[in-house]
Symmetry: D2
Subunit: 345 residues, 4 copies
């Protein structure tokens, strides 16, 4: 068993890491940490975890490193910029679930996040943990920048067609929808039940911090990709992301060809399930699981391609992919401890 | 037209008062007031009211009284204790939607509300505004203590059988369920969508501040009524209250007799609809309306009576009943401006 | 008072017509009709209407015409093809809420609806009831084809910019989201609570019957408009539609110019509320009301325009617009009886 | 590995059995069966199971017995009456999740279920599978009647105090609340999203078929237990049951004593978590898990006891307890394969 620790254990990503790791055959949760709740027990705000009877400890990388090998940072943005170098210095490996280490360009980070960026050093070292497409680098990483929830759904859905160079580089339109847990656990007026229930909102129009993260990876795959159109909506549900994407083809391609391309691209990837022709995924069919389900289809009338990609934002979009990356990092099968069947209904 | 003002206009009861009064034929909303949002427009936090284009003004009873006759206090508990005497002194009539003026016993108030009670003076003057049972006093009031949401559903459901002395005075068990809007508009962790959705909670067990309010009125109707058993639960929905009540009969009575009693008790009351035998109400059948729907039935196996009463907590349980009381106060038909058909689905 | 009748009174559009018309100062509901529920009372399946105590009658246009002047057809598609000519022949005016009379091209109807089309005669006579843009024809109509819910939100959102010829005619992408009530009241497996709740679905991809309806009207406004990209999603909520639309400009235009254009286009239209720059509507801000709220914005990075339009699908998208059209038809102010303030929260 | 089969695999209990058993270390799902869906693949109606790629087979006990040792009957009531004897005759062990084998008195069954009862033979053989209280009999059973969802929550919550004879035998009042999945997967009008959402209903008043099941077990524990008062409500959520129970004490007992009694009663039971004094469970804290969380408290004002018990109706109330019983039956630790941490939020 490899000992691991979780910092930011009482946030939604933190408790999801606990849910997953409690049943993992090779990782053992050695300690839970929180700045705001240190000294309290995890079950005080999380009564579903009462059987664990675990205290939240303060955040001290040197102490943590005495018992653990790997630390998950499930902290809000702006924390790991400083905390991740300290963890590395203490000898820990780091998987950071925040957005702090994802953007290589510090100006981009400061523009979109409105916070001070991490050092060039740590950014240069951080490996972008899109498990399906970055396996090798992840296996050798010291510090992993776990992808954002929207970027995971978007990039898994675009990768094959973009890498194949079948789409016009400035034609990508992404209409994204997320459950409310994506906004985290702070008690914001906009996250109140009475405001969200029976409501559908658009938010952060043209301003979501996941835009540069998606563009950075797309550029890596196809250098001439233009700016993406990216809108985010809040769905009155707790978990789940769907992205509906519209792209224009460079040549005449049929739905069947696209499905073949996607199936072969993800043939050996246990968590990507390409839907049969004519079937489209819903968010609930991946709920509680690490799956990303993708449908792709050519509109015969407009010749545009519609790509639909769904994930559970807290699993494949956060804690699940983090554990998948931890598996890769330690040489385990990437699916280890992640075999949850989706919870339906 | 009678000019009225609303203090606490940006809370849920406040905006519900606006919804109702905007279409009232005899009352005109002269001004909206708020301590926290004064200087802002009502639609900044309430985009559904953008067509009103109304500014929120500071709270100054003397200024208000220059234009308005009547003021609705839709403020949190602890405000009207001081504010209602000031309004009266300025020459305004007052309908207070908070709990501050409901309990005649100041010790009770301080025990259950954990706040300083209002003066004996104002409490002596305040009329309990249970419209269906207190019509005459309301018509002549200067200041009205508008009933709480749970007490409205409970008392309308119990009044006929209690006044008839058909139940054992210490046998009242009330299992109450409420939508989340009952908790008000403050951004509390417990009111977050992700915590409430797909969840059913019990809260304030044996400690809800509506207990003494209900007992006070029951005692008035039947002096030997004992302590009630009263539990409150949070339902993952925005609006609506159901109370399921269990009482023991003093003698053998049949369901039909009870329904007859209830029908005749509420014969001239436009907002109480007694359900036919064998039919039970759901909260949605009164949503957005001022109705209170009541079913009553004897369990043949246990000889206990089950009474089910539903209201929309923001209408009959707050703003609607307040307007009904305003109608009575000014000599209008009590249903004036309250003829909303419930919104279904 | 003008007597009116409702056919299909027990469906969601039918009971919404009842909700609205019960408080209308000039229309009186003379009779309710239903094929499936004839002989029953409306409140058997609609307990919120128990105070009406109204029987559902069979559908006989000649009988209806003895007392009523105008009939609302709130029937599923495939009924008014035959029923509307019968109503006209009996001397009734007709407002048809189904899709049967909207498409002028019978082949289009049969292709998208998979049903037999109405006669050319009745189609030629039917006026498309998009109240804000077709006022004059509606005033003189005998039979009105009330627009679909999605087309209403889409067309009100696109009209000014399309008529101004500021967009590339083949660049229209519409990502539409609807609450579940849009699917009607039949008990379908896909409309079950446990399947819909905590779920977000895409449906009828490239195949929704509202596509030709939208294109027909767009062509009328700008003859060279190409095929639209139109995707529909099911949101876990009962009421509400949002359409997020992405279009490309023909020239460089700023957000402010667009907002000015929209404000002046809808200056005299009481139910269209253009949002201030930087504000975007949510569905709940129009719930229960006849408003259509629209935001428009240029994405500085992509130069595409995003247009967001929200309505309550059962009000502005069905019963509300039908009553608005009835007002126009009888020469009343179009807002008569439709002054509902949105219900929030 | 022990081969098992599931009959009724496409219902909600069936797919929950699949979710659990897919990760069980000792049971292997050999085959899935369905009468209505035989010949189809399980993922046609359950796209979350697309990775299984399993066909639904017809129901033939002799065929099933060739490969499997144990069969789970996740069928609607009225099927196992005949099917379970056939399975036994074929040499299979049976765990029946329906209500058919629970009531020992056939008249009771026919009165409450309105269906023909099973034979006395099979009823005499069937062991009531309340895992925590019937361990020994379960270990030696051939056929197990898996308890109903409500009875599980009720009986685990009442067992210690009833067996201790601390309550008045005719004082039990149970106010039960359930999510919608408890009504099964048939497309009923009452289970439609638009009818259930933002709604709270009471149903089957004084008539729920779980009443005799609860009373039968209570009588076994304390022969003079009277008829229970039992009301069931529908909560607008998919999963979860809470029962709020009110009982009268025979003598003066304090909350602490009761908590001690409960803690010692369930000391060795991994799935019952007694809450600390002053804490009450919510349904979400057990969602997706096999836990039953119980709080108990004396109301100082009324001297009644309030007991609150929550479960996930599809896990501890159905599939989870069935697997727990299968573990007992085959001599495995009862928690094997059931270590799911609750999914929150």
């Amino acid at each position: 068993m490899t000992n691991v620790s979780i910092i930011g254990a009482s946030g939604y990503s933190g408790i999801e890491l606990i849910r997953i790791l409690e049943n993992h055959p090779h990782f053992h949760i050695k300690s839970l940490h929180s700045s705001s709740m240190s000294g309290h027990f995890i079950h005080e705000e999380n009564p579903h975890l009462i059987h664990l009877n675990k205290e939240l400890l303060p955040i001290d990388p040197v102490e943590i490193a005495k018992e653990s090998k790997l630390v998950f940072l499930a902290t809000p943005s702006g924390i790991s910029t400083k905390l991740s170098p300290q963890c590395l210095a203490a000898g820990l490996k780091v998987i950071d679930l925040s957005g702090d280490l994802r953007l290589k360009d510090t100006e981009d980070y400061e523009k979109w996040y409105k916070k001070e960026a991490a050092s060039q050093d740590i950014l240069a070292q951080a490996i972008y943990g899109l498990s399906e497409w970055n396996e090798e680098s992840i296996q050798n990483a010291e510090v992993i920048a776990n992808p954002g929830c929207f970027p995971t759904a978007v990039l898994l859905g675009l990768a094959p067609i973009v890498k194949q160079r079948w789409i016009k580089p400035d034609s990508i339109i992404i209409d994204a929808k997320s459950g409310v847990s994506g906004a985290g656990r702070s008690a914001l007026p906009t996250s109140m039940f009475s405001e969200v229930n029976e409501n559908f909102k658009i938010y952060k129009v043209h301003a979501h911090q996941h835009i540069p993260e998606i563009e950075q990876q797309l550029h890596e795959w196809q250098a001439d990709t233009g700016c993406i159109e990216f809108s985010t909506h809040l769905v009155p549900m707790t978990r789940g992301i769907m992205v509906t994407m519209y792209v224009q083809l460079t040549e005449s391609i049929m739905t069947e060809q696209l499905i073949d391309l996607y199936k072969s691209s993800y043939e050996k990837k246990p968590f990507v399930r390409i839907q049969p022709k004519g079937q489209y995924p819903c968010t609930k069919q991946v709920s509680g699981s690490n799956y990303c389900d993708i449908a792709i289809s050519v509109n015969e009338r407009t010749r545009r391609v519609t790509i639909v990609s769904v994930i559970d934002n807290l699993v494949k979009g956060a804690a699940g992919q983090a554990v998948q990356n931890a598996n890769l990092l330690y040489g385990y099968d990437e699916a280890t401890g992640l075999g949850f069947v989706p919870q339906f209904p």
